[in-house]
Symmetry: C2
Subunit: 255 residues, 2 copies
């Protein structure tokens, strides 16, 4: 019999999951398809969750190894490629992939040393736009428009299956930048965005106020699509400093 | 928004399903991917099953429309193409397909007026070899050899997703016989097999006894692989009669 498959990447991130049974079912189906890295952001019920353990069956390893964080920032800090499972959301300029496409792009990213995370929203409600905005790309499933709401574990099952199939594919997509350069992590990007937004607020850029969130999302999307390297992220922060010097830019609270 | 998808074929057959929750989860994920024909053979618990209804959420239509039979014969009687979801079983000479391959072959079959049924075994145990032997082909999932046991609804989700994707594929496989000829149903094939086996028993063909079941499965596989038409099935029964006339063949209890 071939050896077991246990791959650390991609990590699967459940954002604000509600039912322990679903978390356990996700752990099980991840291991079914050889994925072992589970992350949880702010699970609704206490953790560890006995209901999750019952349903995980033989996948306790995945469950016990799950990384639990209270903020999405922490859960994504080390990620260099973030894919959000979601129906195509309005007003976010991001690539939209099917599961197979997402899986192949993740394989290509891994070959370049990236750290991909695929995130799934909570039961029923799904992720907030602000959460989806964190992603480099959106993954949509070809669901029935008349009945689109998938069970969480089934949605993860579809991705995990598509990913297992992608392991067999030799000819990977090549839209990624060259492998010489180190990709920026979400943490580094957050510092860049924080710095930029702070200086733009200082410059009264975000008005009217009720448009500010949208304007920030759109700016974020531009730089996410650029797939910045560590070096590029640092360069851009230098650019911001250079642009703000002498206008009373607030150097002392640079992030 | 595009219209809802509700396709009668392929039908999904759960063989001796145990937990109502799983049956309900299957109904839900079928409708998620636009499939509405659910069949159950000998469900363990009473039917209708309240636990199934809770989990099916908005898919009550699929659940209420489910066809419940007590024997696999009845549940497969009208099928002309049967696919069994199973790990590759030893000693069955049948084509083995992945979910995508199965989905594309089903699409090709539908275009020729076939009636495809995809069957899934009970939780834990899976189907008996005799049950899998009824299938024209086996569908296997690319699971982790170290942890292969999938939740029933997750397994159905993987197929239903692959099927939804196959709807977009123009270029379908063409291994099927021409569309002029009417495909034989499982009921017609069962009559043929029953007739043949009866006459072969009469001729002391099946010995030693402990090999009889295997010998019957192998014979069955040959004719299943031939993808017989109605006409061909009748012709073969005529052949059996012709071969057995005058040897004290038991014409009176011809099936």
């Amino acid at each position: 019999m071939p050896p077991p498959i246990e791959e650390e990447w991609p990590a699967i991130l459940l954002v604000r999951p509600q039912m322990g049974e679903n978390i356990g079912a996700v752990a099980r189906v991840l291991l079914n398809f050889g994925l072992i890295s589970l992350r949880l952001v702010a699970p609704r019920d206490r953790w560890p969750n006995p209901k999750a353990e019952v349903v995980a069956v033989g996948a306790d390893k995945v469950l016990k190894g799950a990384r639990v964080e209270w903020s999405l920032d922490e859960a994504l800090a080390d990620a260099t490629l973030v894919i959000a499972a979601s129906a195509r959301p309005r007003g976010l300029e991001k690539p939209v992939w099917g599961p197979r496409e997402a899986a192949l792009n993740i394989r290509a990213a891994l070959a370049l040393g990236e750290k991909p995370v695929v995130m799934f929203g909570p039961e029923a409600a799904g992720m907030e736009t602000e959460e989806i905005a964190r992603a480099d790309a959106i993954m949509t499933l070809p669901v029935n428009p008349g009945f689109a709401s998938l069970n969480l574990a089934n949605a993860v099952a579809v991705f995990a299956f598509a990913y297992a199939e992608a392991r067999q594919v030799e000819d990977l997509p090549s839209w990624f930048r060259d492998s010489e350069s180190e990709p920026a992590t979400q943490e580094e990007l957050e510092k860049l965005f924080g710095h930029l937004e702070q200086e733009l607020e200082h410059g009264r850029f975000f008005h009217p106020d009720d448009k500010a969130a949208l304007m920030k999302r759109n700016l974020r999307s531009i730089f996410l699509r650029a797939r910045l390297t560590v070096q590029e992220a640092q360069t851009l922060r230098g650019v911001i400093k250079a642009l703000t010097i002498g206008r009373g830019g607030r150097k002392k609270d640079d992030l």
